[in-house]
C-alpha cells in the first residue's frame, strides 16, 4: 500500500510539473486534498490524491486514491467523472465516481474485543464499494495552480468476519459472525491543484 501512495505522488508531481509550463486547463491534472467527513458514527477525515484527464464537452476523467479513517481505516481507489460549468479558471463543477474500498484496518481494528477479560478476537476484513457524488468550485487559480472546494456525499462499504462462541444454556459452540457495513457520510474537502 505505501508503494501505491509513492507511485501516485510521483505521478501527480509529474503532471504538476507539466501543468506549470502551460495554461490551467491542461490535458492532465493532479490534486491533493483533505476531506472532513461527517456521518452517524461521528466526524473523521480522509486524505486523497487524484489525477485527471480532460475529455471533450468540459468533462474530465479522474483516478484517485485516498486514506479514509471514517469508522475503519480503508483505502478507496476510484474512478471519477467531472463536468465543469465553464472553461474559466474559476468555475463550478459536478462530480460522481466509484470504485473499490480496500479495507486496511489498524492493528487494534484487526483484534477487537477485549472486554474485561483481555481476550482479543482476530477479525478478517473484506473490501467493499466506494462511491461519491457532489459539486465543487475551483478558486484562486494562478500560474496553473489553485484550490478546489468540494461538497458532496460519499459512501463506503466493507465487511468483517470473526469467530465467536454462542451459548446454549450450559454449553457453548463455535460460530462465526459477519457484519456488512454500509456507511454514508457528508464530505467537505479542500484540495490543491498541482
Amino acid at each position: 500500500m505505501p508503494k501505491l501512495f509513492l507511485l501516485l505522488i510521483a505521478v501527480c508531481d509529474f503532471w504538476g510539473a507539466g501543468a506549470q509550463s502551460t495554461s490551467r486547463w491542461e490535458k492532465l491534472q493532479g490534486s491533493v486534498g483533505l476531506s472532513l467527513l461527517n456521518g452517524q458514527s461521528g466526524v473523521s477525515g480522509r486524505l486523497g490524491l487524484e489525477a485527471g484527464y480532460e475529455l471533450p464537452s468540459r468533462f474530465s476523467a479522474h483516478l484517485g486514491v485516498a486514506l479514509d479513517y471514517y469508522y475503519l481505516r480503508t483505502v478507496p481507489v476510484f474512478f471519477e467523472i467531472q463536468r465543469a460549468v465553464s472553461r474559466q479558471p474559476q468555475h463550478f463543477f459536478a462530480y460522481a465516481g466509484g470504485g473499490m474500498n480496500l479495507a486496511w484496518p489498524t492493528q487494534e481494528e484487526r483484534n477487537m474485543g477485549g472486554g474485561g477479560w483481555g481476550i482479543a478476537t482476530p477479525v478478517a476484513h473484506r473490501s467493499g464499494l466506494f462511491t461519491q457524488i457532489g459539486v465543487g468550485r475551483t478558486m484562486g487559480k494562478q500560474s496553473g495552480r489553485g484550490f478546489v472546494l468540494r461538497l458532496g456525499h460519499s459512501f463506503k462499504s466493507f465487511s468483517e468476519t470473526y469467530a465467536e462462541r454462542i451459548w446454549n444454556g450450559s454449553n457453548s459452540d463455535e460460530a462465526s459472525r459477519k457484519n456488512l457495513y454500509q456507511l454514508g457520510m457528508l464530505e467537505c474537502s479542500l484540495r490543491y491543484m498541482l
Binding site: 461527517n38 456521518g39 452517524q40 458514527s41 469508522y71 487494534e108 481494528e109 477487537m112 474485543g113 477485549g114 472486554g115 474485561g116 477479560w117 483481555g118 481476550i119 482479543a120 478476537t121 456525499h153 459512501f155 470473526y162 465467536e164 462462541r165 454462542i166 451459548w167 446454549n168 444454556g169 450450559s170 454449553n171 457453548s172 459452540d173 460460530a175 462465526s176 459472525r177 459477519k178 457484519n179 456488512l180 457495513y181 454500509q182 456507511l183 454514508g184 457520510m185 457528508l186
Partner: protein, 436 residues
C-alpha cells in the same frame, strides 16, 4: 402606472418566485436525500441459540430410560461398578457397561432434560434437572424409576449468560438459529464491547467420593460440581455450597446452603472429610468433619484460569488452563503441599500444553493435556514428576483412572485405556462420539 390589460404579476416576477420556490424545494429534497444517505448501517449475519420451553410437568414426565442413543455432546463422567455414567449435556445420561473394556456397550440413555451434573450412590442416581435435583433408581438401567424431585435448589440454572428463563417454564432445548438483522453501526457492537462471548462450558466430571458402610458411592473426577462424601451430597454453584443428606439414598433431603464469598467456583473434589473447591482464582480447602456445615480451612490462590483439582493425603494437583472461557495465559500443573491445610504451599509448577481434567490413582497421575492427549506420570515424588507415557488422543478433556482403566473423554470418543503397566498403557476400547 399599470396599464389596462397588463397582468397584475408580470412574467419575470412569477418566474423569480417560481425559481425561488423551486430552489427552496430542491434544497429540502437535497437535504432529505442527504440525510437519508448519511445512515451508517450494518447488516449482521450470525447464529444464536433460541430456548424451547416446556412445563415442569412435561419435563418430569420425560425423565425416563430409553434405548441407547449416539453420544453427541459428552459432559461429565461418573463410574459406579462396571458402569460409566456419561452426561449428554442438557439432555441426559448415557449408561455404558465397560465390564469388558475392549468392547464397551452403550446400554441405555436416561432422558433428563437440563442435566449437566450427576453422582451415584448405591443404586440411586442424583442429577440436576435444570433448577431441580432429581433422584432416580437405576437398579435396572433400562427401566429406571424417578423417586424424587427437590425443586429449585439450583437457581443458577435458571439463567445463563445473562439470559433469564421464564420462571414458570423450563428450557428443554436450544435450537440453533441463523439470522440476519440490520442495525445502526456501533449499536450493541461498539469496539469497547466484548465481542468474545463467555463460554460457560460446564463440561466436567463427577467428583471422587469415599464409600460409606453399606452403600457404595460412585467414583468421579476432578471437574464436577457434584461430590459425594459418605452420606452427604455436596454441590457447588458459582458462589455457594449446598449440602444434601443422602443417608436414605432414595430420599435425599436438602440440608443447607453455605455461601462462598470468593465466588468463581467451578469444581468440588471430596477427599477424606475434606472438600477441595476449584475456583478461577484459587483452590479452597473445606473441612467437612461437621458434615452439614463444612468450614473453610485454607486456600491457595493463583492467576485467573480454569483449574480442576484432585488431591491425596499430602498433595493437591491443580491444572491451570487458558483459552476459550478460561482467561489468562497459563497452561500448567501446580503441585501444592497440603500437609498444613491452613497454609497450602506451592511445591512445583510443571508446564503443560492445555490441561483439563486430571485423576490420581495411587502414585500415578493422569492429565488430559488437550491436543497432546493423555499423559501418565509417576507422581511418587511430586516435586519430580516423571512422564511415563503419552497416549496420543485428540483434544482430551476428562479422565477418571480407576481400577487399572483410565476412562478418557476425547474429541472423537470415550477411550478405555488399560494402564496395568503404565509405561505400556494402551487403548483397550472405545465408544465413538457422533458429532452428527
Amino acid at each position: 402606472m399599470q396599464q389596462f390589460g397588463q397582468p397584475l404579476c408580470p412574467d419575470n416576477i412569477i418566474n423569480r418566485i417560481s425559481m425561488q420556490i423551486s430552489r427552496f424545494l430542491l434544497s429540502i429534497v437535497a437535504a432529505m436525500v442527504l440525510s437519508s444517505c448519511l445512515k451508517d448501517e450494518v447488516r449482521q449475519q450470525y447464529t444464536f441459540f433460541r430456548p424451547v420451553y416446556k412445563t415442569r410437568a412435561e419435563v418430569r414426565s420425560e425423565a425416563k430410560s430409553t434405548l441407547p442413543v449416539a453420544i453427541a455432546m459428552p459432559g461429565k463422567l461418573f463410574i459406579k461398578g462396571s458402569y460409566v455414567f456419561l452426561n449428554e449435556v442438557d439432555k441426559g445420561i448415557h449408561i455404558i457397561d465397560f465390564s469388558q473394556p475392549s468392547s464397551p456397550k452403550n446400554l441405555a440413555f436416561l432422558k433428563i432434560p437440563g442435566c449437566v451434573d450427576m453422582a451415584v450412590r448405591g443404586h440411586f442416581l442424583y442429577a440436576d434437572c435444570y433448577t431441580d435435583l432429581v433422584t432416580i433408581d437405576i437398579s435396572d438401567p433400562r427401566q429406571v424409576t424417578v423417586k424424587k424431585f427437590i425443586e429449585g435448589v439450583f437457581p443458577h440454572r435458571r439463567y445463563s449468560n445473562g439470559f433469564v428463563a421464564d420462571t414458570n417454564l423450563v428450557i428443554t432445548e436450544w435450537s440453533r438459529v441463523d439470522t440476519v438483522v440490520r442495525m445502526k453501526a456501533g449499536d450493541g457492537m461498539s469496539w469497547n464491547n466484548p465481542r468474545v462471548f463467555m463460554a460457560g462450558d460446564l463440561r466436567s466430571q463427577g467428583a471422587m467420593s469415599s464409600a460409606s458402610p453399606g452403600v457404595a458411592n460412585g467414583v468421579g473426577g476432578s471437574m464436577a460440581r457434584f461430590g459425594l462424601l459418605d452420606d452427604r451430597l455436596y454441590t457447588v454453584s458459582w458462589s455457594d455450597l449446598k449440602v444434601f443428606n443422602t443417608s436414605d439414598p432414595s430420599n435425599p433431603a436438602y440440608v443447607s446452603t453455605i455461601g462462598l464469598a470468593q465466588g468463581d467456583i467451578e469444581t468440588i473434589f471430596p477427599y477424606r472429610n475434606r472438600l477441595f473447591l476449584g475456583s478461577q482464582t484459587g483452590m479452597f480447602i473445606y473441612d467437612a468433619i461437621n458434615k452439614d456445615n463444612p468450614r473453610r480451612m485454607g486456600q491457595f490462590t493463583h492467576a485467573r484460569a480454569c483449574d480442576p483439582v484432585v488431591a491425596d493425603d499430602t498433595y493437591a494437583y491443580v491444572t491451570l488452563r487458558s483459552g476459550n472461557r478460561c482467561v489468562g495465559n497459563l497452561n500448567q500443573l501446580d503441585v501444592i503441599d497440603i500437609s498444613q491445610l491452613t497454609s497450602p504451599k506451592l511445591v512445583k509448577t510443571y508446564s503443560l500444553k492445555g490441561p483439563e481434567g486430571l485423576s490420581k490413582d495411587g502414585s500415578l497421575l493422569f492429565i488430559c493435556d488437550g491436543s497432546d492427549g493423555l499423559k501418565i506420570y509417576d507422581a511418587a515424588k511430586p516435586e519430580n514428576l516423571v512422564l511415563l507415557k503419552t497416549i496420543a488422543l485428540s483434544d482430551t478433556y476428562d479422565v477418571i483412572a480407576w481400577n487399572r482403566i483410565a476412562l478418557t473423554v476425547a474429541k472423537d470418543g470415550i477411550y478405555f485405556i488399560d494402564y496395568s503397566n503404565p509405561t505400556q498403557a494402551f487403548v483397550a476400547g472405545k465408544v465413538v462420539i457422533s458429532k452428527s
